[in-house]
Symmetry: C2
Subunit: 199 residues, 2 copies
């Protein structure tokens, strides 16, 4: 997605070979027009499937799940990172290790909002180690729902996340794929028409 790659080049802050900050337009301050475009792009990519629900994890996936939900005309569900006092009913949950924050947590969703009748598209802002996304796919499986694919805004292709998901036979599409980066420079993998992997 060229407009996204351009914004990453212009505004992204590359703090090391693994840390990219895009908080001026994606995940702290959010360019709502760009977020809507990202939602429409996910619709173009996965729109041949009758998606019934978008799934993401709080917090920085929410704006893109909302944008995808608008484009598909369906609701979205965001997994919560720990059980709140008001969340008492049965949940599907999965453990996640955050490498950025160096902490372990659980993500969970209410069993009421995902079931065998659902065709689910998972979206998130980043695909890096894949930890949270693998947890979300576990939740989809536990719910007996069908997973259409995983759509990410930015992929750090030099990390293992895509491989972990593809090993499970999951279709993965990221809108900007970073092959390598260093302070002051970022190299993208060119966009290709992808073959659809079986889910």
């Amino acid at each position: 997605m060229k407009v996204l790659e351009d914004r990453i080049r212009e505004e992204g802050q590359i703090l090391s070979e693994t840390v990219l900050k895009v908080d001026s337009f994606l995940n702290h301050q959010v360019d709502t027009a760009l977020a809507l475009q990202i939602g429409r792009e996910f619709k173009d990519i996965f729109g041949q499937e009758r998606v019934t629900k978008i799934l993401t994890v709080e917090a920085s996936g929410i704006q893109f799940a909302m944008a995808a939900g608008i484009a598909f005309g369906v609701p979205f569900v965001y997994a919560k990172k720990k059980k709140a006092v008001t969340q008492s009913e049965e949940v599907y949950s999965a453990p996640v290790h955050s490498f950025t924050r160096q902490e372990d947590y659980r993500i969970s969703i209410s069993q009421k909002y995902l079931g065998p009748e659902d065709k689910v598209l998972i979206v998130d802002d980043f695909l890096a180690t894949g930890a949270a996304l693998v947890g979300l796919t576990d939740i989809v499986e536990a719910a007996g729902a069908e997973l259409v694919g995983v759509g990410c805004v930015i992929e750090k292709s030099f990390q293992e996340g895509r491989g972990l998901l593809e090993q499970r036979g999951i279709r993965v599409h990221s809108l900007a794929r970073i092959a390598a980066m260093a302070p002051g420079e970022v190299h993208f993998i060119p966009e290709l028409i992808e073959e659809r992997a079986e889910c």
Copy 2:
């Protein structure tokens, strides 16, 4: 907002005289069409002001900040609940006590994304004790920005949040105002044309 009151009556789960769950359509599973309507409603209410930025706090404010950002055609910023490893620059921050979770945390935003040139509308899903919202107004003040008002989706009018904000001279508008509730019943304060308080 009648459609919102109807949904609260139909789907809201009143767990006690103070706890209302609306996670089937507002803050876990999200009805994207309703969220967009909520954004347009905020525009109708606060649209006479030249708002430059929407401000909220993660996570459950994000979908409504996004909807308001779409309606106003401006970006939104969501305050983070603790400093992440990748958030190293200077921030505006405020302490918050969560009565729901019985914990203290700080909310913070990067100083890069709010300044004296901004006219800010704060939005959130709930106005109850007002703890997080007062923190957000502190942040707007610290940034030297102008606060246009606070827009909330649901207000528990029997709690002190509105009073705390109005004491500061802040214009507050909630789309559904709950006067009282008990398991099985919810009583709304009728909508009125509100006088604009000076910010």
